[in-house]
């Protein structure tokens, strides 16, 4: 789809004619699938969450039910609030990176990456090519691990636990790669201002290639299971329709938006890291229902494998961290050998980067949607204000619009399909 899309990120007209239902058609379909009940006196109120098997953390939804049909939803968040944004004001930029991992702990690197991109923009740091490629590759590994986990849990929310563990088995291969690359399996804190923490370890290339050769086969198998399962089709098709205008109104981004026919992908639209230098397609589907969100994510995982392969092929030599003594840490291996690097290390660790005044907003395409970071600096090593605009928050607030008029069982499926993680939502 690259090169063929117009400036608004819409798909070309010829393709639209063949596959794409118009917005009116989708609106009409949405209207038809939702049940419009007049609220009667017999409303049952259920508090779903914060302790509930399928609330993906501590999301609480207070449901008004008429029988099995949802009349109204009042979402409640904040049960996992840790004050990350406030904590950031008391940390140097380097120290903030480990905090960002804990936002969306399923895809920690994407959060690191978003913050570092913003900080680099603020400081005017140029990331060397190798650093950009490693970041791109890690980000895509993150996307795969996030989507596989999502696939397992969302199918579990539809009622089977077998698929869940099978997906976890495959996620394990990606987590092993992370362990090899960063030393941690989930909260890697791998990005640094100006690059990444470590170079690729020996043998990583070979192992990573093995995994990305093997994963698409597994994914094809899963896709076959999903597409041929009549119960799944019944549960997912024309359920939870959320048109592109709804997405815009509620600032829903990422796979949910792309399943509504909008080819919005920051990796293409506002490229960063090494994304302009790799070939990939934006996964788009047009029916805006739970089923299409599945398809979008399955496609995205395959595209991620493609991106990772290209990154490994093109991996440029050279430094993986910017040689910018004022803003970034030195490469760790040099610290005990090179006096300049040692001085830089002390300087960065004890004083932090010296950042000009100003404010900056930067967003990246995290696996769950657009992850934006706003930083306001009043000079010095610590930001005056950091604001994370994370996808799960917006997806969580859109839940009432997504599920009203659907049945309880569908609510679980829809909630799973928009992919919310509460660490990301509450911060």
């Amino acid at each position: 789809m690259s090169g063929t899309q117009d400036t608004q990120g819409l798909v070309p007209a010829a393709q639209a004619l063949s596959r794409r239902p118009s917005l009116e058609e989708l609106r009409e379909r949405k209207d038809r699938t939702r049940r419009h009940l007049e609220p009667t006196g017999d409303v049952m109120t259920i508090s779903m969450g914060p302790q509930h098997p399928s609330m993906h953390g501590v999301y609480r939804a207070v449901l008004d039910l008429d029988g099995e049909v949802i009349l109204a939803v009042r979402p409640e968040i904040g049960n996992l609030h840790r004050g990350v944004e406030k904590l950031c004001e008391h940390r140097t930029y380097h120290q903030i990176i480990p905090l960002t991992d804990r936002l969306d702990y399923i895809s920690g690197f994407a959060m690191n990456h978003g913050f570092c991109e913003a900080a680099e923009k603020l400081m005017g740091v140029e990331v060397p090519a190798r650093g950009r490629y490693i970041r791109t590759m890690t980000h895509e590994l993150c996307r795969i691990s996030n989507h596989i986990l999502w696939l397992g849990t969302s199918i579990m929310d539809l009622g089977t636990q077998t698929f869940f563990t099978i997906c976890f088995r495959d996620r394990e291969y990606v987590l092993d790669l992370f362990e090899m690359l960063t030393g941690a399996r989930m909260t890697h804190s791998f990005a640094r201002i100006g690059g990444v923490a470590k170079d690729l370890p020996d043998g990583f290339d070979h192992r990573c290639r093995k995994v990305i050769d093997f994963l698409p086969k597994r994914l094809a198998e899963y896709e076959r299971i999903i597409k041929q399962n009549r119960i799944f089709l019944k549960r997912a098709k024309n359920v939870g329709i959320f048109t592109s205008e709804d997405c815009h109104a509620w600032r829903v981004t990422g796979p949910t938006l792309r399943a509504a026919g909008i080819a919005r992908d920051l990796r293409k639209d506002e490229p960063y890291a090494a994304y302009p230098e790799v070939e990939f397609d934006v996964a788009v589907e047009y029916n805006a229902d739970v089923y299409d969100r599945f398809l979008v994510r399955m496609k995205e995982m395959r595209e991620s494998c493609k991106i990772i392969r290209q990154c490994l092929d093109k991996m440029p030599p050279g430094p993986f961290l910017a040689p910018d003594a004022a803003h970034s840490l030195p490469m760790k291996k040099n610290v005990l050998r090179d006096s300049a690097a040692m001085i830089q290390d002390f300087y960065q660790v004890f004083r932090g980067p010296q950042v000009p005044r100003g404010s900056v907003y930067r967003c990246v395409e995290a696996p769950k949607g657009e992850m934006g970071v706003y930083i306001r600096s009043e000079g010095g090593a610590k930001p005056a204000r950091v604001r994370f605009s994370t996808p799960s928050f917006y997806h969580g607030q859109a839940v009432p619009a997504l599920v009203e008029g659907e049945m309880v069982a569908d609510m679980i499926a829809i909630f799973a399909s928009v992919d919310v993680v509460l660490g990301d939502c509450d911060r």
């Binding site: 049952m44 109120t45 509930h52 098997p53 636990q161 119960i231 049945m407």
Partner: protein, 341 residues
């Protein structure tokens, strides 16, 4: 010792041994369910207690008995306490009418006649359907008395589901009834004398499949486990139950699994009969046991493979697909039988 006295002694022995055997089967069914679930999911399942983890169920029971019995403060206490028994007792009663070997004929044990059935009852099939309907009350009352919205929804779902599936079940069983010309399970097995192609599963293939699907709903297992629906209703009607009261529901579910497997094999798979007449030297109970094992495996296989239907989809399958199919099956069977006679 006169024959009636011997029959009484046999009856007492059967009435004690049979439930104990079933409970043992159930204990291992629970173990195998977990083991199979593990295999299907690429795990190993229970491994600690006993060889290969095989004593897991006994550990579970011990744990459940030793747990605190919590009763919600605002629940309807007498009903809350009664519900597990209502779920538990009827499923055991059905066992009495299922033959597990030849019934009648000449003396075969110490000069006395040993019937391989606890109660030779003329309307065994009706008893099975009636007891199935009774057991629903346990679930519905349990859900209603818990004073929890999740439980209430679970109980309502269970009630609606079981009523609609019982109809399909009854109609498809009626096809077998017509073929055997009797409602007695003993006569139904006698009607299937011969090799495995003489069993009712060939002429009653449609009815058999409908009965099987409806029995999954009756057993409350995926894809029809809406009453429990862990991902939606936490645990449905079981949400507020704990300890051995919960255990009784759980246990009743598995006893029901064994009993329904027995009924399915009795109605469609020749009951205790050997698949080939030359294999008749192997006693009937063993064949019945093997068939139960096979059916239990199929039920588990389905459960760990398929995802759950939504509530309205389940109802539409019950009323729009299974019920018409079973009625059509009954009509065709009736027409064919009257044409043949």
């Amino acid at each position: 010792m006169s024959d009636p006295v011997a029959q009484l002694i046999f009856l007492i022995i059967k009435a004690i041994v049979m439930p104990v055997l079933i409970i043992l089967i159930v204990a291992f069914a629970i173990f195998f369910e977990r083991k199979f679930a593990g295999f299907f999911a690429g795990r190993v399942g229970p491994t600690y207690l006993g060889p290969w983890g095989s004593l897991q169920s006994f550990g579970d029971i011990f744990k459940l008995i030793s747990k605190e019995d919590l009763i919600p403060a605002k629940s309807d206490k007498p009903v809350f306490k009664l519900a597990p028994y209502i779920a538990f007792v009827p499923v055991f009663l059905v066992m009495a009418v299922i033959p597990f070997g030849p019934v009648g004929g000449e003396a075969n044990l110490f000069g006395y006649r040993f019937d391989y059935v606890i109660a030779s009852f003329d309307a065994g099939l009706v008893l099975f359907l009636a007891m199935g309907a009774m057991a629903v009350y346990g679930v519905v009352l349990g859900g209603w008395s818990s004073n929890s919205n999740y439980s209430l929804l679970g109980g309502l779902r269970a009630g609606a589901q079981m009523i609609s599936y019982e109809l399909a079940m009854g109609f498809s069983a009626a096809g077998v009834m017509l073929m055997a010309g009797s409602m007695s399970l003993i006569d139904i097995v006698d009607g299937q004398a011969g090799n495995f192609w003489d069993w009712y599963w060939i002429p009653q293939i449609v009815g058999g499949l409908v009965f099987f699907v409806a029995s999954i709903a009756e057993l409350n297992r995926t894809p029809f486990d809406l009453a429990e629906a862990e991902q939606e209703l936490v645990a449905g009607h079981l949400t507020e139950y704990s300890g051995m009261r919960w255990g009784m529901f759980y246990f009743a579910e598995y006893v029901n699994l064994v009993v329904v497997s027995m009924i399915v094999s009795t109605l469609y798979l020749g009951g205790w009969r050997a698949p080939l007449e030359v294999l008749d030297f192997i006693p009937g109970p063993i064949w019945l046991f093997l068939k139960i094992c096979f059916l239990i495996f199929v039920y588990m296989w389905v459960r760990w493979t398929i995802i759950r239907y939504r509530y309205n989809q389940l109802m539409s399958i019950g009323w729009k697909v299974l019920l018409p199919l079973s009625i059509a099956n009954l009509l065709v069977t009736a027409v064919v039988i009257s044409a043949v006679n």
